[in-house]
């Protein structure tokens, strides 16, 4: 969610299989750079694979462009990467939170597993309880 020139991002830390909880320290939010975070929920293996591929692309971007990627540009990258697998998708639901531009305007974006972006001003949600989160 966004505040005045700031954003926050939160996730649970459960890794479970059906009713069994295997771990309570799973990482679901990753820092891309100081002003950009991505949260990934969904199928755990795809979350891990997708973040590996994403880190690879961002490292290359950093090396080539010698600057941090803009949140809106990053969201476009994520969306494209997901849609490339249109007929065999990664089962992940990304939530992107960052600050864009010299004025640190909050940038919030959620996506479905095929990369359909939905940007919002106040808050974005994703994951199993996303409908419930909208209510909260």
């Amino acid at each position: 969610m966004a505040g005045k020139n700031c954003v926050g991002i939160a996730s649970d830390r459960r890794y479970g299989q059906y009713q069994t909880t295997i771990a309570t320290d799973a990482q679901k939010i990753w820092k891309i750079h100081d002003k950009l975070y991505i949260g990934l929920s969904g199928l755990a293996t795809d979350v891990q694979t997708f973040i590996e591929k994403l880190k690879f692309r961002i490292t290359l971007y950093q090396l080539r462009e010698e600057r941090d990627i803009k949140p809106s540009c990053f969201a476009q990258l994520v969306s494209t990467m997901l849609y490339e697998k249109r007929f065999g998708p990664y089962f992940v639901e990304p939530v992107i939170a960052g600050l864009e531009g010299p004025n640190n305007e909050p940038y919030l974006c959620a996506m479905d597993l095929l990369g359909c972006t939905s940007t919002a001003k106040g808050f974005v949600v994703g994951g199993t309880p996303s409908e419930q989160l909208y209510g909260v």
């Binding site: 890794y15 295997i22 771990a23 799973a26 293996t45």
Partner: protein, 188 residues
């Protein structure tokens, strides 16, 4: 504290028949890593041998042993790549000791990797997680660890429908791999 302890049952079943009761399901990936595998017969052996040979190749190519974390991530990548081509029906626990100490990784057949303090694959978890949750604490000595494992084995053998099996117990320490005898239940 300075070891990883893995146990696995020794039964190979073919529908309702027990084909073999002394099968070793814990493979030695190299001198400091153990790979306990649960899964479909052929896949389990083929995949674990594939990982073992690839680790050996890395060692031959570079002259360096892989860290446990690197080996776990390599294995995860193989499983994740195979997932959408021809998945391996292999759930595993990978444990090893390297320069950063002991570590245990929980791997499922989809390629989900998680570093854990203790873990279980298969039905064992239903019986053992609560015991491990209650009794595991950091920096346990090997004797305490073996006692905890024996508690888990007792629980499985008394409450699990397909219990009453022998178990392989192996431990990795900085010195290497040792096979412990489940009956003796000591660290000798």
């Amino acid at each position: 504290k300075d070891y990883v302890l893995l146990i696995a049952d020794r039964k190979v079943a073919y529908s309702v028949v027990a084909l073999k009761s002394d099968h070793d399901k814990i493979m030695h990936l190299d001198a400091s890593k153990l790979f306990a595998i649960a899964g479909e017969g052929g896949d389990a052996v083929q995949f674990s041998e594939y990982v073992q040979k690839n680790l050996h190749l890395y060692n031959l190519k570079t002259g360096l042993p892989l860290s446990t974390k690197a080996a776990a991530h390599f294995t995860r990548n193989e499983l994740a790549t195979a997932l959408r081509k021809g998945p391996f029906q292999v759930n595993a626990l990978l444990g090893g000791v390297d320069h950063s100490g002991p570590s245990l990784y929980h791997l499922d057949y989809l390629g989900t990797l998680h570093k854990v303090n203790f873990g279980a694959q298969g039905y064992g978890g239903y019986f053992c997680y609560s015991i491990l949750d209650r009794l595991w604490k950091p920096d346990m000595s090997l004797d305490e660890g073996v006692a905890l494992m024996n508690t888990c084995i007792k629980e499985i053998n008394s409450r699990f429908l397909v219990g009453g099996a022998d178990f392989t117990i192996k431990v990795v320490t900085a010195e290497g791999i040792r096979v412990l005898d489940p009956v003796l239940a000591s660290s000798a």
